[in-house]
Each structure stands twice: as C-alpha cells, then as structure tokens.
C-alpha cells in the first residue's frame, strides 16, 4: 500500500504548471490516518524526526521511519529511549536551525512535560502531532483529550482537527504558523487517537510541489552558530524572566491572525478550508449551540441534522484553535446563541473542564451573556453517540429555563458507581 500511495504524490509537473484546478488534480486515496499524517510530514521536509513508540501514535512514526529508509525523505530519524529524550533531541536540532518533528500521546506527552516548556521558552518552532489518548491510572489506551488539554499552559499553540484530511492539512499549516519570525512558537496538532490515527478514509494527500511552495524552507534568525556564538536556555533572573513570558504571550496573541491568514492561504493553494480559529455548522439561527473540539464533530453534525428536521434550532461551533484561545472569534460566532453547551473529552478534576472554563472566561466580561453549561464525555474511549448529543441538547433546552447543573458527566453509568 505504502509505496503505491507515496509515489502518487510525486508527479513530474505540478498541477499548477499544467494549468489544472488544484483541488481536482489529486484524486482521493483511501489510506490510514497515520499514513496520511506521515505523508503530510514528509511534504513538510523536516530535517530531524525523533520519537518513542506509544499506542496509538506508533503508526505515524513507523511510516516516517520507512519513508526515511526508502530514501523518500532527506531527514535524520532518531530512535531514542523515551519521549523525554525524543523531544530533548529536537531541542538540540531545532536550536541548530533544523526543522523538527515528533509525535506522541498520553503518558508520552506527560513524560515530555518539562521539555515542552523548554521548547516554547526557547522559541523553537517544533511541530508535534498528539494522537489524543487517556492518561492512567486506571490504565487506558483509548481516546480522550485529557493529555493535550492538560498541557494547554505550556506555551505551545494547539490545533484540534475533526478528520484525517484536516489533520493532514493542519500539519502543513502548523509549520508555517510556528516558524513565522513573529511567532516562533511550537505547535501541537491534536488528533483523536485511534478514531483518526487508525481509521482508513478517503484523503487528498498533499502534493509535494504545492506543499513546498506553501511552506518555504525554515530560515530561523537565531541559531547555534560557532561563527556567531550564543547561548540557548540560559538563566533569566527575576529582572527579566517576566518579560520572556510576556513575549511568548504576545507571540500567541499574534498567532491568532497568523492562523486565520494561514488557513486562507492554504485554501488559495489547496482549495480546502476548515475555518481559521473556529468554524460553525448551522449556527447562524441556532438557539442552542454546541461548542466542542475534535473528531466528535462529525457525529454532532449528524445529530444536528436530525434535530433540525424535527424543528429544533441547534447548531455547532468548532474550536479549531484552542491555544491561543480565540476569544473574539468565539464571541462573534456565538453572539446570537440563546444557550451555549460545551462538550469535551477532558475533565479538570476539582474544577470543571478546560474548554468550559475558557468559554466562561471568554464571555464573562463581554456584552453577550447566554448561559454556558458544560459536559464531559467520551473519556477513556467511550463512544459519544447521537443519543448522547440528543440528551445533551435536551439538557440544554431545560437549562434555558434555569440552570440546574453548570457542569456534568454526560451519560454517566451510575449503576456501576
């Protein structure tokens, strides 16, 4: 499978040069999500890849190691002893000016935690796919988003994707965003583990020439260079540390416009667009708007269609970019909502949940004051079904008359408690 797919992307003349409409020149291929992402990474031409195997990320990096071995990629692939080492390797290679890639999930991301801060603090624009998975204990290898939502404060940009095609496209966009001299901030492209990494679905693989045109070579201004010596990771004492953090904060603010712009540029080149910071579905006249992230969106769209057919005014707003948190875009997208129901696959134990807390914060000081309620669901790989969505909407309908619960575990199996 792999060879056939790989060769299809490299055709002599670029579609543009042939004067064809780019969106139609590349046919769709039915491939595994992990392969599609690995192929996208290949098109980004990273200099260094380092990773440690962990389910369900494994296939992404296995495909990449095969591509390197086949000579399809001019990249160094370093196998290491742990996720901590994997990301540390990339700190070194990124500081030397290399474009760097890794992928991980769950416990692996948790083990990287210390290095995540090093990467963002040193402003190294590494891109990483997180194949979202639950964290132990109890041990669980299935999908939810506790891993990356838990890492929302580490200074990385975070983009959540809905399907494999978006994972492919967001990976290419991520480098363009991260490496912008004004941004220089590492980026996680978060895709639901198994649901998107192991699914086979029709995908338009990236065209290498178009990708190269879209993403120029990495040209960092500041690298380790014996001719121009400098130090990375040095001490910043109390007189300057705050300003380092402020500059990171500002870079994330600037990333808001950059992410929008990049999504539009991508659309111009490839003809696909998923919204910049947020996207919406049948939300214009919706009274009840569900706000969520990731692959559950497909199910929600189906549920919305059937509820719309029954006359319920339900819509969806998808948070594509979670860090930086797109406050203005969300206020605009939700200004007419009568109630906002946040659905997410994470929980802030002792608080509520990440997206819900951010949503409440985004609206509190605004002139828009719909009630905001939240639900956690789909933890540890439990399916979120259309029934669950309908249940959520019923609860939202009831809450329009008065909130009984601001936050709850949806479809909790109380019989086993």
């Amino acid at each position: 499978m792999m060879k056939g797919v790989a060769s299809s992307a490299s055709q002599g003349q670029s579609p543009k040069a042939r004067g064809e409409k780019t969106t139609k020149t590349l046919g769709m291929k039915v491939v595994e999500g992990s392969y599609a992402v690995a192929h996208a990474v290949k098109c980004c031409r990273p200099d260094v890849i380092s990773a440690y195997p962990i389910t369900p990320q494994t296939h992404i990096v296995e495909h990449l190691s095969q591509m390197v071995a086949n000579g399809e990629m001019d990249s160094e692939f370093l196998t290491v002893d742990s996720e901590f080492s994997a990301l540390s390797v990339l700190v070194g290679s990124s500081a030397c000016g290399g474009r760097c890639y890794s992928s991980t999930t769950s416990q692996g991301l948790a083990l990287m935690y210390e290095v995540l801060y090093n990467v963002s603090g040193m402003r190294l624009p590494i891109v990483m796919n997180v194949a979202n998975r639950a964290l132990g204990a109890p041990l669980n290898i299935w999908n939810d988003q506790q891993d990356s939502i838990g890492a929302r404060d580490v200074g990385w940009l975070q983009i959540y994707v809905e399907d494999v095609q978006e994972a492919v496209d967001a990976t290419l966009q991520a480098y363009k965003i991260a490496e912008d001299p004004e941004i220089m901030t590492p980026t996680m492209v978060c895709m639901d583990g198994f649901i998107l990494t192991h699914v086979y679905e029709p995908v338009k693989l990236l065209d290498q020439e178009l990708a190269s045109e879209f993403l120029p070579p990495f040209a960092p201004r500041s690298i380790l260079d014996t001719a121009d010596p400098k130090t990375f990771g040095a001490f910043a004492d109390p007189s300057t540390y705050t300003e380092f953090r402020y500059l990171q904060f500002e870079a994330q603010n600037k990333a808001l416009a950059k992410i929008e712009r990049t999504a539009r540029e991508f659309e111009e080149t490839f003809g696909r667009f998923y919204g910049g910071l947020v996207d919406s579905y049948r939300a214009d006249d919706a009274e009840i708007v569900i706000v969520t992230l990731g692959s559950v969106i497909g199910t929600i769209k189906d549920a919305i269609d059937s509820m719309r057919a029954e006359g319920k005014k339900v819509g969806l707003v998808k948070v594509r970019c979670y860090r930086p948190f797109p406050v203005a875009a969300l206020r605009e997208a939700l200004k007419k909502a009568s109630i906002i129901a946040v659905l997410e696959k994470d929980v802030s134990i002792g608080g509520e949940a990440g997206l819900l807390a951010d949503m409440k914060a985004a609206f509190y000081n605004s002139s828009i004051h719909p009630p905001i309620i939240g639900f956690t669901a789909g933890l540890g790989g439990r399916d979120i079904t259309i029934n669950d969505i309908e249940k959520l909407v019923k609860k939202a309908e009831a809450a329009m008359k008065g909130i009984e619960s601001e936050f709850e575990f949806l479809s909790l199996r109380t019989e086993i408690l």
Binding site: Y52, P53, T55, T58, S65, A69, T79, D81, A137
Partner: protein, 287 residues
C-alpha cells in the same frame, strides 16, 4: 497450595506461543511451592510495568501493582521500604526497564535493595508491535528501524554486575525447570536479584531456533567471583547468531541490603487496634 490456585479470571491476551506463558507458569509454580515451604503468598507483592509483560500481574492471584512505563522499580522500592518484611517481585520488559526506566534499574542494583527483578527480555517492543529495544541486536530491522538499528545492544547481566546487583542469572523460556530454579533462588536471595529471561516473542522476534541452538547451562562456575561472572556475562553480547549463550547463575554474593541500612525506619509490628490508634495520632498531629 497448588499452582492453579494462583490463577485469576482475567482473560489472557498474550499471543499463542508467547514466552510470557513460561514465565507465568514458572512463577506460579515457584510461588505455590514457597507458600508450602513457609513463605505465604499473602506476604508477596508483585509489581509490573508497561508492555506485554505487564499483564502478568492480572494473571496471578497475588497482591500486585501495575505501575507506569519504566517505573516498576521506584514503586517496588517504596513498597519494600514501607514494609521490609514483604517479598517484592518485579516484572519488567527490556523496553520498560532498560530504556525508559534504566536509571531506576541501575539505582536498585547500586542500593542492593532486597527486590527480585524478572526481565522479560524479548528484545522487541511487542505491545507497540515491533520496534527495536535496548537489547535488540545491532542491525535489527524493526518498524522504527527499517534500515536496521545502528546501536549495539545492551548486555543486562554485565550492566547489573558492575552496578552492584548481588544475584544475577539468565534463564530461557524454553526450559522451565531451570527457570523455576532461578526464580526460587532469586526470590530467596537477600539483596537485589536479577534474572534476565530470554523470552521469545512469537509475533515480532521469534528467536527460538537460534536460542535452541546456542544456549547451554553453566556448570561449576565460581558464582562468588566478580571476574568470572564478568567474563561469562560478556561471553555473549546479545549479538552474533551462533555464539554460545550461557544460562544459569552468573553471580551471587552477600552484601548489606538497602532496607537494612535505610535510616529512620523502625520495624514495628502492630495489631489492628494499635495500628488504628497510631493512624489517628498521626492524623491529629497533622490536622
């Protein structure tokens, strides 16, 4: 007690033919035997890490702790220090304790803590389906190393010897009598005991043929001699298809174990009532 008394209702999900079955059966027989001989199985605590091996604690009806990847030994160390009377047996894979958890392995040996570590050494990451590990031979073509691993393998018995372990042996999953003997010796040894088990992974690294050809049991070696143990442990370095592979005990010496010299711990044997009184005293002091 019969070995079958130590089974559980958990469904076994190892591949047919997996070397882990031998380790499980050997351990079950040894624990049942030790129970008959005066080491009640209730006094035993098992700790496993992450990987195919980790499931072993699901299949043994013994107190157990399923820890996170690489951290088998820190958990076991704490269990042992909290109650030095317990027998603590760790199961760990070559990925688990030679890659992510390597520092803990070296420190456990250095401290000579009275813990037994059984290394399920299949020389491949089985659970993540076939990548090279620290003991894979140089040139190993796994899914993460299609061109062959560039690194020479690690030699676990040699590493344990120079790190300070006081019992070091190697077994093979095709040879359950020896495996049982080594497990029993290791568990009864006072100090850090390490058994490297050449465990065949049928699915991703089936080495039965080459092992069957190369293994031999060491006889008459001086297990109190560091130099002889070093020589024998280095006689096969986890590479080369035809080198003879020594099995059996490399090394065993007496040395003070960590929990014996650990400062600040008084061993107190409390009955239930005294224990509760003690806990409420502590709680009152802290609240």
């Amino acid at each position: 007690m019969k070995p079958t008394d130590l089974g559980t209702y958990a469904k076994n999900t190892w591949c047919p033919g997996c070397g882990n079955f031998s380790i499980l059966n050997a351990m079950r027989a040894v624990l049942a035997q030790l129970d008959e001989e005066g080491l009640p199985v209730e006094e035993v605590v098992l700790v496993s890490g992450i990987g195919c091996h980790g499931k072993i604690v699901d299949y043994l009806n013994v107190n157990s702790f399923y820890s996170i990847h690489g951290r088998t030994l820190p958990v076991a160390t704490a269990i042992k220090l909290a109650n030095p009377e317990r027998k603590v047996i760790c199961f760990s894979g070559d990925g688990d304790c030679l890659a992510e958890g390597l520092d803990h392995l070296i420190f456990a040996a250095k401290r000579n803590i009275d813990i037994t570590l059984i290394l399920h050494d299949n020389r491949v990451y089985g659970l993540t389906t076939g990548q090279y590990t620290p003991t894979s031979p140089q040139g190993f073509k796994g899914k993460s190393t299609p061109l062959g691993s560039a690194e020479p393998p690690m030699n676990p018995p040699e590493l344990m010897l120079v790190s300070g372990a006081t019992y070091i042996a190697r077994g093979y999953t095709h040879g359950i009598d020896l495996l049982q003997r080594l497990f029993k010796e290791a568990i009864l040894h006072k100090g850090f005991s390490f058994v490297d088990v050449l465990q065949v992974c049928m699915t991703y690294n089936n080495l039965y043929e080459s092992y069957n050809k190369c293994v031999y049991e060491m006889k008459g070696n001086d297990t109190s001699s560091f130099d002889e143990a070093l020589r024998l442990s280095r006689s096969w370095r986890y590479d080369g298809p035809d080198a003879p592979i020594p099995l059996g005990r490399f090394y065993q010496v007496d040395a003070p174990s960590f929990e014996e010299v650990f400062p600040g711990f008084e061993l107190v044997d409390l009955d239930e009532a005294k224990r509760e009184k003690k806990i409420s005293e502590v709680l009152e002091r802290m609240i």
